[in-house]
């Protein structure tokens, strides 16, 4: 990874002109804007079916706390982790808790009544409002200093190919769900497609110029002028492409293992591929906001690689006194926590382009879930585990709030990027505004 302290230096290092860069790198033309300001990025990661409170929540409040089994993988990032207990999804209305847990999670507002039924009842549709990641993305995209090519990227891991209230958590507005991209190859094409084309284009310019020369010789002087003008454009393109070589080497896309199909057994591979793409897209400044959705609300993956032969959702319904189920669910959440830790590690290992420190110094990961606890379907104590130093929150703590609505956490995120909204989602749950104690 090339490091440079500003967009201009970056371009200079690569020998590129600003006009060429967007074509070459598939970047927004302002991709490296805001060299002076601090870059802030957000990843919201979702995993389903609640947690086992006793193996998840630290007993202590404050800076000294023990990470229990579920959160053990975050040990290397303990001082960059902030665990928020006592944040509740208080939104009610249409749908059952799995539906609301998903559709209201990032939006903080009710679902519309609609045609998605849980069993033969609880008819619900999409959320009535925008999700917080999109709210922040829109805010960042407004300003040239923070605008990026994509603004936000929606990653999925094994999200089934069906659109309903359980499979969608990101909304660009009321009734406007966004589909996460679960196929890493599709995401790769989206991020880097033109790079491949560019390589091909470069290879055909010589024959093209030969051809132009040949046909020029066959026409009259008047017409030859037009073809000669044409040839100058082709040579200019050739020049631009030649100058881009360095850039390609600097930000080469990750090499993905070929042919990994979207199956439960491939989840670990798919997860790694998507995280690698996510980190790359941050490093290239394709986007400042990302979501990473594993499975879906009431997700029923069978995680054999963890030795769990039953479906996650089925296991999550087992009572608290089923020790085997508790153990399995703890293991499952620990695996998800490992994914958070891998993401954090990749970010920490990647230097911040044009800035100090690593990507993790400029990124906040929020790991969350549609339920607090699987067998009770409670929307209280939704897990919110924050990792990274992107948002000026004081990390390295375990906090406990007195059952406050999660809308206030989302407002806090918006404020942390300078977007000082007075309410988010249903105003009834915005109470006294941002959560206290996050920064101090």
């Amino acid at each position: 990874m090339t490091r440079a302290s500003s967009r201009r230096e970056f371009i200079r290092d690569l020998g590129l002109s600003a006009a060429v860069l967007p074509f070459v790198l598939n970047l927004s033309s302002v991709g490296f804007a805001n060299p002076a300001g601090r870059k802030q990025r957000l990843v919201i990661m979702f995993s389903p079916n609640g947690v086992i409170p006793s193996t998840f929540w630290p007993d202590e409040v404050g800076e000294t706390f023990t990470l229990k089994e579920s959160l053990q993988p975050l040990e290397p990032f303990r001082n960059r982790t902030l665990i928020l207990n006592g944040i509740c999804d208080k939104v009610r209305g249409e749908g059952d808790n799995h539906m609301r847990g998903m559709g209201c999670l990032l939006t903080g507002i009710e679902l519309f009544r609609g045609s998605v039924a849980s069993g033969d009842e609880f008819f619900a549709g999409w959320s009535r409002g925008i999700s917080i990641d999109q709210e922040i993305k829109n805010f960042l995209q407004q300003s040239p200093a923070t605008r990026t090519r994509f603004g936000s990227l929606e990653f999925g891991v094994n999200v089934p190919d069906r659109a309903d209230t359980w499979t969608r958590m990101v909304f660009s507005g009321p009734n406007k769900p966004l589909t996460p991209v679960s196929d890493p190859y599709q995401m790769l094409g989206r991020l880097y497609g033109r790079l491949k084309n560019q390589e091909n284009m470069k290879s055909v310019l010589d024959p093209l110029l030969d051809d132009l020369r040949k046909v020029s010789e066959a026409v009259g002087a008047e017409d030859r002028k037009l073809l000669e003008e044409h040839a100058t454009f082709v040579r200019a393109l050739e020049q631009e492409l030649r100058e881009s070589n360095a850039a390609q080497n600097a930000l080469a896309p990750p090499v993905l293992e070929a042919g990994v199909k979207s199956t439960d057994d491939n989840m670990p591979k798919l997860s790694k591929m998507q995280i690698d793409l996510l980190v790359n897209s941050f490093a290239a400044d394709f986007a400042r906001v990302a979501t990473l959705q594993y499975s879906h609300s009431a997700g029923d993956a069978t995680m054999r690689w963890l030795g769990v032969e039953a479906r996650h959702h089925d296991v999550s319904h087992k009572p608290d006194d089923d020790a085997d189920a508790q153990k399995k669910l703890t293991r499952i959440n620990q695996w998800y926590c490992e994914q958070v830790a891998y993401l954090a590690k990749r970010l920490a290992d990647t230097p911040e382009p044009g800035g100090d420190g690593s990507l993790l110094d400029h990124t906040l990961i929020v790991w969350t879930n549609e339920l607090g606890k699987g067998n009770s379907h409670t929307l209280d104590n939704i897990p919110f585990v924050l990792v990274g130093n992107g948002f000026n929150f004081r990390m390295g703590r375990s906090l406990k709030y007195p059952a406050l609505p999660h809308n206030r956490l989302w407002m806090s995120l918006a404020h942390a990027v300078g977007h000082e909204i007075k309410r988010f989602g249903n105003p009834d749950y915005c109470g006294e505004g941002v959560l206290s104690g996050l920064t101090g």
């Binding site: 619900a124 084309n197 132009l212 009259g220």
Partner: protein, 775 residues
């Protein structure tokens, strides 16, 4: 709209190569000498402003002179108005000699137009890429069946659904109310219907699709894998879904609409529901054609067969040069080159994601499938270049890339990129002048696209050598919807409404005239033109002489006809035979009018330039029209006469105004009237033919009869259709071409479709000496 606007639009004619002789001469103060020749007079009196050879001077009069006025008229004009700073100092005999000299010397300028190398226009580029891909797919069967096929099911597809019937539905507009589409077989609470077919697209542009329903719906267009509208989850009160797509005229696009009524009630509740509490069910698919308001897709645009998927290149291109009055690919730019790169990349991506479909089943590009892919690629290049490849070319454009690329997939991509970036694809007539050149010129003339398999086959078998064979192909091709689409676009351009102007009218004067009325009027005009394009007869004179027009319920009320408010368009004769085809079509009358009152100047300028084919120079200054309130007693005609009475105005307005005045019986929204501001309308007008004869007419019908029979009008129409069709200057084809084509046009009984075929044939078979020079 104001006169100022007229000036601005006329100013564009400065750039028309053959700008008119309406010049402001400036006097040279040298003493007049007796019996100077026309050339001497010109050098002494005119050249300082018009240039030694009438080419114009940048400071005084930049347009080159031509002489499309009658000789006597020209002489009179010179005697009266020239030189501009001292008019009237030219003796009558001097003016005559000057006029004759100018006619002789500068009228011939027009034959010197060079038939240079041109590239595909943007429209041709999009058409060619679309049809290139389409050539690898099974075409849509063409028949006269209209409507879509509906499959009816008793339940949602993801529960137990049961197919109960299939039928041909003429439209996608249903109101089932609280009942079932078929009470005997389909439960009224929950049912699903899937309609499939294709959409016939009349013109190129951005189309908006609107689905309205209380229930779940999905709508696919062109790409049947990815819905354009996905409202399968019914959520909240939303009942209207919109999406847009760019479509190409004369092509068909597959469509599918799936609708599902759901009760949104637990089944136990549903069973006990009172009949009046059962939710209603309705669905309609509307479209908004370019520059129209939305309407349910009419039956005549729906067919019950599935069209193959088609590529519509989305890459934006810079607009083509239109300075000659028609789009031409005469220049290139960096932006254009960049667009061809981006579009080639777009097409490459498309080929790779549709490889199996395009190659007839080669799913993946591998070492094993490389030989078949090589064959596909060679076909691809040949079709794009419109001619077979020599062995050497096959090596250059295909084989070498397969050898050098890292894998067969990259090889295919490189072939597609190189092909679509090659001048052999991007330019017309670049190599050779053989049967394949004839085939290309024919297909671009009629379709703005590549030759099809039949035409290439004809070229290969040596059938395109005689005019007879070429004309036979042209006749076959003229029946294709792409030709109709091109002709439709031409008529709109001829009528100067290809880019719809703002039609806002004064709310005080015309309270009932709104955007819907404006859109309806455009639809009404296009229906009239469709009769011309697709109807039984294609007699050009009917464009002026038809006394009927299409009205729907909304328009009927506005134009004083008794029709139900929701009546669809039908042909109606109104105002007791006073109507005269497009001349009195309310859309054009409203377009060429102000917000409050008529504008005889706008109407006259339209008639002079577009219908009579004469050029006008821009007025020396921008003028706002005199406000009616300043002269409350004057009719519009009198106001216009007052404002343009100055000699400098009369040089043009002497021709413009009397043509426009003939339409004064129609107000600013095209309604018939007897009175204007309390005075009886005076609709008398005159026109001096190119031959010098003066014609008079009273009112629109007499004007229409004159125009329908006017050789000037016929010639102008032939020229303009030639330019639109070939995108080349007719003058480059020699002075006899326009005469011959006009003669044929008259002989055919003014058959527009035959004229199109004649033009396409003539341009396809143009003689070798005017072909782009070959080494």
């Amino acid at each position: 709209m104001s006169i100022h606007c007229t000036c601005r639009s006329l100013r564009a004619s400065r750039f028309v190569r053959l700008a008119g002789l309406w010049g402001v001469f400036v006097c040279n103060l040298a003493t007049a000498m007796a019996d100077e020749t026309g050339a001497q007079l010109f050098a002494r009196l005119c050249a300082s402003c018009h240039g030694a050879h009438g080419e114009g001077t940048p400071q005084e009069y930049p347009q080159p002179l031509s002489a499309d006025r009658p000789l006597t008229d020209l002489a009179r004009f010179i005697a009266r108005a020239m030189p501009a700073d001292d008019p009237g100092t030219c003796r009558a005999d001097e003016a005559e000699r000057l006029a004759a000299y100018i006619r002789e010397s500068f009228a011939s300028r027009t034959t010197a137009a060079h038939l240079g190398l041109t590239r595909l226009t943007v429209g041709q580029y999009r058409g060619a890429v679309a049809d290139l891909m389409a050539s690898f797919r099974t075409p849509l069967p063409r028949d006269h069946t209209r409507g879509v096929l509906g499959d009816y099911y008793t339940m949602k597809p993801d529960r137990d659904n049961k197919h109960v019937m299939q039928r041909l539905d003429p439209e996608l507009r249903f109101d089932f109310g609280r009942s079932s589409p078929d009470p005997k077989t389909i439960d009224l609470h929950e049912f699903t219907i899937s309609w499939e077919g294709s959409l016939l697209v009349p013109e190129s542009g951005e189309y908006e699709f609107i689905v309205r329903t209380e229930h779940a719906v999905r709508f696919w267009l062109n790409n049947l894998k990815q819905p354009l509208i996905d409202a399968w989850v019914k959520s909240g009160q939303d009942g209207e879904y919109r999406a847009s797509a760019r479509l190409l005229g004369g092509r068909a696009y597959a469509l599918k609409l799936v609708f599902s009524k759901m009760s949104l009630m637990p089944s136990a509740v549903r069973k006990k529901t009172a009949p009046e509490a059962i939710p209603t069910a309705s669905i309609v698919l509307e479209w908004t054609r370019p520059h129209r308001v939305s309407e349910p897709v009419p039956t005549r645009y729906l067919v019950p067969h599935r069209a193959p998927e088609s590529l519509v290149v989305a890459t934006p291109f810079p607009p083509d040069d239109r300075s000659a009055g028609y789009e031409r690919g005469t220049s290139i730019s960096k932006a254009w080159d960049q667009a061809t790169t981006d579009a080639a990349v777009e097409a490459t991506d498309y080929v790779m994601t549709h490889l199996g479909d395009l190659t007839g089943g080669i799913g993946e590009a591998t070492r094993e499938t490389a030989p078949q892919l090589n064959t596909f690629c060679r076909q691809f290049v040949e079709r794009a270049f419109r001619r077979p490849l020599s062995d050497e070319q096959a090596r250059l454009f295909v084989d070498r890339l397969f050898e050098s690329a890292p894998d067969p997939s990259a090889a295919v991509q490189r072939v597609v990129l190189l092909t679509l970036k090659s001048p052999r694809f991007l330019y017309h007539d670049l190599v050779g002048n053989d049967a394949y050149s004839v085939a290309s010129r024919l297909s671009f003339a009629l379709w703005d696209s590549l030759p099809d398999a039949g035409l290439l086959q004809a070229a290969a078998s040596g059938q395109l050598t005689s005019a007879e064979h070429v004309a036979a192909q042209a006749r076959r091709m003229a029946a294709d919807p792409r030709a109709a689409s091109k002709l439709r676009a031409f008529f709109l351009q001829w009528l100067k409404v290809e880019h719809p102007p703002d039609l806002s009218k004064s709310k005080a004067e015309f309270p009932a005239f709104d955007a819907a009325a404006a859109s309806d009027l455009r639809a009404s005009l296009e229906l009239l033109l469709d009769d011309q394009i697709e109807g039984q007869t294609s007699d050009f004179r009917r464009v002026f002489l038809a006394d009927e027009l299409y009205l729907n319920g909304r328009l009927a009320r506005l134009y004083g006809v008794d029709l139900p408010g929701d009546a669809p368009f039908r042909k109606i004769s109104l105002d007791n035979g006073r109507r005269a085809g497009v001349l009195t079509h309310p859309y054009l009358l409203a377009v060429f009018a102000g917000a409050e009152s008529t504008s005889p100047i706008h109407r006259g300028v339209f008639l002079v330039r577009n219908v009579l084919g004469r050029s006008l120079r821009p007025p020396p200054d921008a003028f706002a029209p005199l406000s009616p309130s300043l002269h409350p007693d004057l009719t519009t005609r009198q106001r216009v006469e007052l404002q343009t009475k100055a000699e400098t105005c009369q040089s043009c307005h002497g021709v413009i105004n009397p043509l426009g005045f003939a339409l004064e019986h129609f107000d600013a929204i095209g309604r018939y009237r007897e009175q204007d501001r309390g005075h009886a309308v005076d609709a008398k007008g005159t026109y001096a033919n190119r031959s010098g004869d003066s014609v008079t007419f009273n009112g629109a019908r007499e004007l229409a009869q004159f125009l329908a029979a006017s050789n000037d009008v016929h010639t102008a129409f032939v020229k303009q259709l030639f330019h639109h069709t070939t995108k080349e200057s007719i003058h480059a084809y020699g002075p006899q071409t326009v005469t011959r084509l006009t003669h044929t046009f008259v002989e055919s009984g003014f058959d527009v479709r035959k004229l199109l075929i004649e033009i396409a044939t003539a341009s396809a078979l143009r003689p070798r000496d005017v072909v782009v020079q070959q080494k």
